[in-house]
Symmetry: C2
Subunit: 708 residues, 2 copies
């Protein structure tokens, strides 16, 4: 080859090292073998060859320099469009060779790709991204090379179903364009479906694919042409999830006997506080403080070591220095302890040395078939059973409300803070768990536990990340089977991936977006804001699920009507016209009120609070509505009590959700607030909260329908 700046590269796709990109012609070969509509192309290493291949394919053409060393081809100036004849071909061929070496001196070139020029059309991107936790994700985006600017894309876990694909394209803002917008022709959808299904096959056959970009794929003249292919290969590590025996978990949450290793008479110490919380909150099983320096702690006989306790110990609470934990764990094995909570810190959270210590104690635990919570855990609390094997400052709360929310936190501090705030608001809990380092028991294990826990109706999670996706999937499924909503607040949304993003797909679909897709797929409801967590958990505890998104709004103020209507519109909730209710409501409210949805019964409700119940009863029965939002403004006792009773009564007698807000202060309606609390009926403090809660009910109801 005369102009032999092209040093033909020896590798082929099968020998590509993990972490490298396949060159376009290599990727195209793989896709072509799956029957995907790749633009006609051929690799040329010499000008003569280029001329020959060009004749075969037919002008106009695109030329692209191929080098494993150059990822951003356009930037390097090694892509040349609209080559119309041999003269241009030869010119541009040389230009590509020159540009490549000036862009990257030592770039090894495999040749120049001669490719048919695609017609103008609708440009989409199809991408695959392999998430370390959730595996391969399919991305469809609008805008071709502009996709990063447009940020119009949708994503699903692979393999995708036909139904997934249909949803994905409907989610695109550009969906009307795909359908054919303003008289322009749309895309051939069956081509799109077939591309997606072939990509399913691809990742099944080649699970080592790390990332893939088909960009752009041009839809024109009822066809689709893949104009560029970029595939990155990684390592495929099979996921193994060894089955575990969780039968001893029951001793952790309902122990008949507890030993507190590290209990202290000094209540400023964590061990002193922990022991005090267990005692003062009325634990009624057997309790053994273990402390070699004490005879008696808070009236309980103390033992110098676990092995000296004369009777059986089901649960060991270990709150000693990290270095002492292995010895205590050995004693647990010796003693036949079933479960252990390790509060001590100094394990994997401090780095490599701690991780070793952690592995050591887990090895010991395995020997004794002991289930371990922690290390670095704040503990577990079971308010309904008066068992508080936890030492978070939340336990300083005077009021500890039992109830039906099961809460799992991967952050001890945030979990404890939320617990205290929730109690302050009257929310009741069945279980509260700080899973911390998850050396043994994981978030998923506790989801599975709570899914069958009689006292738990709703499972709420403060999540930093899922470690084992298979067990999460299994646990989430059990929650759905037992009709317990699984609510997840996930943090770490903004974390920037470590590796430099080299693909379009990678740059538009961040790791956090994968969590959203996965949680939805597994039937968990993602809670967007931490400050909605308590509100939403309480709602799922008592509310009925709406059948759809048509909402009736009831207020006593035009201003409230307007605010709620704004928010419903922003969340995509409908505020439809009523069937018969408006005529009936008109009879009860003054002429300057509004009997059409949103309803304004006006301030006359202050003088005539009983009118409110009549209107609410009519409204809840309207066939056009799936749920009711009541937004109260300044509503003081005693009228507020009449309204509260009306709401609770109507809610009981009908099967639609009624979500209630009160903008006015609780302090001007203490009797009404007490009534709501007695009835365990949550009332929210702002229009935003009310609409948000209703929206989560609607979303969960839709999610459930999909799971069925």
């Amino acid at each position: 080859m005369r102009e032999s700046k092209i040093a033909v590269e020896k590798n082929d796709s099968k020998k590509v090292e993990p972490g490298t990109f396949l060159m376009e012609y290599e990727g195209a070969k793989i896709l072509g073998s799956l029957g995907l509509p790749i633009a006609k192309s051929a690799l040329a290493t010499t000008k003569d060859e280029a001329v020959k291949k060009a004749e075969e394919i037919g002008y106009p053409l695109v030329l692209k320099g191929m080098s494993r060393d150059i990822i951003h081809k356009t930037e390097a100036g090694i892509v040349k469009l609209n080559i119309r004849n041999e003269k241009e071909l030869l010119e541009k061929f040389e230009e590509i060779i020159a540009n490549a070496s000036s862009y990257k001196r030592d770039a090894v070139m495999a040749g120049v790709l001669i490719q048919e020029m695609a017609p103008k059309g609708i440009e989409l991107i199809f991408g695959i991204k392999k998430d370390p936790t959730f595996g391969h994700q399919l991305v469809i985006g609008y805008g071709g090379t502009l996709v990063e600017i447009m940020k119009d894309f949708s994503m699903r876990m692979m393999p995708v179903s036909l139904n997934d694909i249909e949803e994905m394209i409907k989610e695109l803002k550009a969906f009307p364009i795909l359908e054919g917008y303003r008289g322009q022709s749309g895309i051939n959808k069956s081509m799109l479906y077939s591309i997606c299904l072939s990509l399913n096959d691809l990742v099944e056959a080649r699970p080592e694919i790390e990332e893939l970009d088909l960009n752009p794929v041009i839809f024109a003249n009822n066809e689709a042409i893949i104009c560029d292919v970029r595939i990155s290969i990684g390592e495929h590590l099979g996921v193994e999830s060894s089955p575990r025996d969780l039968s001893n978990l029951k001793y952790m949450i309902n122990p008949q006997s507890i030993a507190v290793v590290g209990a202290s008479t000094n209540e400023k110490k964590n061990g002193g506080r922990l022991f005090r919380y267990i005692v003062e909150n009325g634990y009624n099983g057997k309790l053994y403080p273990i402390n070699p320096g004490a005879d008696n702690i808070k009236g309980f006989k103390a033992y110098p070591s676990l092995t000296e306790v004369p009777e059986e110990v089901e649960l060991a609470c270990i709150i000693v220095g990290a270095n002492h934990v292995p010895k205590v764990m050995e004693e647990c094995v010796q003693k036949g302890v079933k479960a252990a909570i390790i509060y001590s810190s100094g394990f994997s959270e401090i780095g490599e040395e701690g991780r070793k210590l952690q592995n050591q104690i887990i090895e010991i635990a395995k020997r004794g078939n002991i289930r371990v919570l922690g290390p670095n855990s704040i503990g577990i609390a079971s308010p309904g059973k008066n068992i508080y094997t936890a030492f978070g400052a939340a336990l300083e709360s005077k009021v500890k409300v039992p109830g039906n929310i099961g809460f799992i936190s991967q952050s001890g501090a945030m979990g404890s803070a939320l617990l205290s705030r929730a109690w302050d608001q009257g929310a009741g809990f069945s279980r509260w768990v700080s899973v911390a380092n998850e050396a043994d028991l994981s978030t998923s294990d506790f989801i599975e536990l709570l899914a069958t826990d009689e006292e738990t109706k709703v499972i709420s999670i403060f999540m930093e990340g899922i470690k084992d996706v298979r067990s999460f999937q299994k646990a989430a499924k059990k929650a759905i089977e037992n009709q317990k909503p699984l609510l997840v607040f996930k943090t770490g949304r903004s974390s920037i991936g470590q590796k430099a993003v080299q693909s379009h797909t990678g740059s538009i679909a961040g790791d956090d977006a994968v969590y959203s897709v996965a949680l939805k797929k597994y039937g968990a409801l993602r809670i967007e804001q931490l400050d909605e967590m308590i509100d939403v958990s309480r709602a799922f505890n008592v509310q009925k699920l709406p059948n759809g998104r048509r909402i009736g709004v009831l207020t006593a103020s035009g201003g409230a009507c307007s605010v709620i209507a704004d928010l419903c519109s922003e969340k995509g909730l409908e505020v439809p016209e009523l069937t018969e209710a408006s005529d009936k409501i008109q009879e009860y409210i003054p002429p300057f009120g509004s009997a059409v949805n949103p309803i304004d019964v006006t301030a006359e409700v202050i003088a005539k609070p009983e009118m409110f119940k009549k209107v609410l009863e009519i409204l809840v029965q309207d066939q056009n509505l799936d749920g009711i939002i009541v937004m109260l403004t300044t509503n003081a006792d005693p009228g507020a009590v009449v309204i509260a009773q009306a709401i609770v009564d109507v809610f009981r007698q009908h099967d639609k959700p009624i979500v209630v807000g009160r903008l006015g202060a609780d302090s001007i309606a203490p009797q009404a607030m007490a009534l709501y609390q007695k009835e365990n009926f949550p009332v929210y403090s702002s229009p935003e909260r009310v609409v948000s809660v209703m929206n989560y009910l609607v979303k969960y109801s839709e999610l459930l329908k999909k799971q069925q």
Copy 2:
């Protein structure tokens, strides 16, 4: 003309009736005369003429049927692209005539426009929309005919400055494309500037322009070509704002003497409640209940009518049936009353009849130079002066906190509810005003008043709409001059415009978006959520303004760090690396904490709360930071008090904002909460609140810089 289905239309642009569209060639003429780069074109009424014009312009061409009766040309099939020769021209000409009459049988056609075919390029839309309140708005959008799908546009009030234009294009998501993306060429920006400035001239010369679409404007080859013009003409009504004498307003807010017309001994009646609130809250001026059926109300001598009060009356509070109000107003004139609050309902809010009555009382008021608040008002409260001439249920609050927030509400019920909730949270108010029907005194009048009110530091508004934009502008300016933040929550965001939207500009840029643009322009800060209103008002009351958006984050939990970092990233706040602080902080915190931003001092702060002050002091002084967010989790007394004192002390000694959140319940740290309240230092209950508050401080600081 042989194929004379074209009935040549007689009108020309000067005779167009308000409410109609100009045809494209008419609009093009107007724009051409301003020197705008209109695609070359000519109107042809016969085929022969078409052929001749086509030769002059040069193929390829576009043909467009012109009819005032057909607005959506593409839909009607009367736009034909890429006409390459005479044969095609003649064919398509006929097709257009046929399609027009089948689309709309009686469509009168002015001819067929023969237009040069623009090259491919970057397609923008330039639009003008005349808002009934704020006048002409300029819209620049990306995507040409796809702009409604892309929803990528920016808007400013006209006339726009060069600076406005620069901001507008930077606000577009597509800005990188305009700049030249991935090696593609961008747009000729000076062409874009010149189009915008010419449009300024256009609306100045032709204020009757209601809407205008230049869509698409194609930027290619360093040129711009306007390919389609659509102009709609309305009526121009000059805005007049007659100067008013507000000197009597002082009697409304600080009256030395009050007569309550309609005061009652029955405290279930509004007149009874109003009088009770005035008395019980300690009004110390002269007070005259007016009620012909009572001798004495709550120890005050009652008079049968206003005119029988022996002494001067500055303020009349009128709370009688609507029909009696004119007579009472006559008595006010007779008595020389300076100001009146009309609580009575039954005026413009109930329709036409009420409006007449309202006009009648305003006429009477004018005669006596009486300033009127209402009708339908809940009144005014001035907590700092113990004057409560209001009857909202908020006044049932046990604690009424005086302070520096001046609050104006266009919704009585929402305003009253917010007041009670704010008091519950410890927020203090200087004035609270329910402006209601604004028959005389408007929101703007009160903004102007509060802008010079010594007790008021921040002005907060619940807004449904601005009536007179000139007086709002003037009042807002005064607020800025006096360095008082003007915070506006605006409802009615989702209200659907009455007229059918016929333009692209109209359909992307709704009425509410105009409010956002206008409020920003006038220096008001729009509050997005009602439930942020109190938080943000309190913040502006005490906080320092940040110089930029670089935030230092201080927590005692990795979970909190992560949550705050997510939120900062979502709001566009930066969490930068520190200069020297990290090294210094490292000395105080355990090795498993984080000394880099965001800082995690770890739970050790519970045992060593004094460490917190050291870290905060170092952090606040870092040169890379403009403000500090502290997010506390479960933080109980007594440690919480040490931390609270540290925060207050450090805040006082430095000039940066320190916004503090506490996720843990108030009830576990009552002493700390009392300290914050005593210091009037707001603490927010969730990470979302904290970050949102900081973001508003940053936005306002940026807004102020622009005003200077």
